[in-house]
Point group: C2
DNA sequence: ACTACATTTGACAAATTCTGACTTGTCAAC
DNA sequence: GTTGACAAGTCAGAATTTGTCAAATGTAGT
């Protein structure tokens, strides 16, 4: 699994829907929807939720992919530090 | 350990240095340095590196804390999804 | 090849966020 | 009450993000 967009596209095509239809449901331009599916743009949290509803997908699964995309942007070149960094956060959250 | 700023402050105070001195070394305003230590502002990657040099700290350790701060911002309320999201990324990176 | 429709792309303005500097306030020590 | 260290608020310019539009490209079907 690569990014959220690819997952969305797979879901959409399995249901024979058009970009235009999903875009209309989110009330955004088709062009934006295209970019989201191609990974050019990030969807907003709310958009992900709407997409999950509309495509009858598991909301948490899509949100997890959405979060993964965002984490990837932040981590950038620091891949080797990411695990340690997340562990620090986990400790912090436990308290 | 909370955030990078607290670590920096601890290091700085252990060496009896003033905010002003560290700030001067980074060529930023003392007020900005104060905010970084209190976690009001994020340091840039380059600033973290400079600070590590100046305070004789381990660069990777500080960068890890720096990354943790950034991850925390991104994760936001999605704490429960963060582990899964990072696992997805790890798989992706292996290839 | 022509038409019709779906998708992609690049340019763009508006909105939002980030950054660092500047100013003012607080507090403790002297 | 002056000084020095730091905190806190405000601000403008820079940078990034967001969504739209128009034009380009892809893709069938005829």
């Amino acid at each position: 699994m690569k990014h959220l967009g690819q997952k969305i596209r797979a879901l959409r095509e399995k249901q024979n829907m058009l970009l235009r239809q999903v875009a209309a449901h989110l009330e955004v331009d088709t062009a934006l929807m295209s970019k989201i599916e191609r990974g050019d743009r990030n969807a907003s949290r709310q958009q992900v939720i709407e997409i999950a509803k509309f495509l009858k997908a598991n909301e948490d699964e899509l949100l997890t992919l959405w979060l993964a995309d965002k984490l990837e942007n932040v981590v950038g070149e620091e891949k080797d530090l990411a695990s340690d960094a997340l562990n620090i956060l986990k400790k912090k959250w436990k308290k």
